[in-house]
Amino acid sequence: MKNSPFIHFLMLEFFKERKKHIGVISISLVILFLLSSVLFISSSIRHSLNQTLAWEPDFVVQRIQGGQKVNAPTEWIDDLLEVHGISKITSRVYGRYFFKSKEKSFLIVGVDFMDEQSHKALRMMMDETDLKEFLKGNNMLVGEGVSSHLKAHFYPNGYTFLTPKGAFKKVQLFKVLPKKSNLISNDMIIVPIELAREILGMGEDEVSDIAFNVPNDDEWENVADKISAFYYDLRVVTKEDIKKAYENLYNYKGGIFLILFLIVIVTFVLILYQRYSMVYSSERRHIGLLRALGWSIRDVLKLKFFETMMIVLIAFVLGVALAYLYVFVLGAPLLAEIFLGGANLHNSVILVPVLDFGILSSIFLIYAIPFISAVLIPTWKIAVTDPKEAML
């Protein structure tokens, strides 16, 4: 292969036309880099969220009034306890606290630390000594975004919340949640459930919603039907609904970029096609010359195919590798905000590397096939004409 005259000629040809090829590679590189970056971000976030789904409850029961979600009464928990096949019933207390002066909001989540699962999860984040200390007073665990926001506004050790009843509640900042959990905890404030009720102005007999599990998957539909029949203002949200919501959210955004990519690639291919099929183009004369020197149509097509494949491969490998480094090493600055938003607290997440080979091969095919066709079709058209005519 090393001494093959064809390979040698191909490389000479490629080197001679390097300026032209560098231009084409650069445009392809930008297109592939942007598309791969977007798809990497979306697949990484989706992957991480799917991992956390295992920890989420199978069902959430909410109370709906006038199309709005309102607080549910705690007596619903007693009704749920009577249903056979339900386990891990937990009341969830959460709501947003508006930091009016700066127009930012935090998510306050009340946790029952006496609950076995919560206790176990908390121990994964802090040791036994910390835990005892934490439960002693009015303490809170905050996400990184909340911590930076509070520090920037001169609340380094805690914050005094204004409850809806007009009272002030001072809460000490106990610990900042790990940066690695920023994807879900950036704007979160975790406090004991009673404290959360006080800050959010909820009564003792009220909860935001009720979560529970149904260990037998086959019973999911039955249980959902049974519970829906309890009250007219009750809504059951399943884990599948949440999963679908995530899928829609990120497929939608990835889809927008895919459409843009297709528009750009079609335009690019049209430009290439036109360049090769121009009557007085240098390409035309070059192909005519090769044919006049005795090259067969097959040889000409082979030369152009390998030349284009080299461009495609260089652009693809460079584009995807740079996108990988930009997303998973640098954390996708600017582009990640499209997925995470930028209207509230700034969130910088650690994106777990996920390479979806199905997506990568689709990108390659969507890019390579039109590109190669845009070069080979006009080349073939010129190659079949008389060399004298082609060189005119």
Binding site: M11, F14, F15, I45, S48, Q51, T52, L53, W55, E56, Q62, G66, K69, R92, Y94, R96, F98, E103, V111, Q117, K120, A121, M124, M125, K180, S181, N182, L183, I184, S185, N186, D187, R235, I242, A245, Y246, L249, Y252, I256, L313, I314, V317, V320, A321, Y324, L325, F328, E337, F339, L340, G341, G342, A343, N344, H346, N347, I350, V352, P353, L355
Partner: protein, 88 residues
């Protein structure tokens, strides 16, 4: 001239190798472990989207105009609304 191609091919191979090494040796367990711990503690795994606070409804069907968060196309509906995930 052929040497230049060997060099280019080696650079591409090196880049692929770096990506491959990073992909294989990145610590995924720690990140997913921390995410799972927070999700397990709060029983809430929705993403912390940085979106504006949608409280102000001026009338039952009219929501106050949301702040422009896209200067290029201000009329575009924000696709990362919080209620999309927190509520059904």
């Amino acid at each position: 001239m052929v040497k230049a191609f060997y060099l280019a091919a080696s650079l591409l191979f090196l880049m692929t190798l770096i990506v491959g090494m990073h992909y294989i040796f990145t610590d995924r367990v720690d990140v997913t472990g921390k995410l799972s711990a927070v999700a397990g503690l709060t029983r809430m795994g929705s993403p912390s989207l940085s979106v504006a606070y949608y409280e102000q409804r001026i009338e039952s069907r009219v929501q106050e105009v949301e702040k422009e968060n896209n200067i290029i196309y201000p009329e575009m509906m924000p696709v990362d609304r919080m209620d999309f995930v927190y509520e059904k």
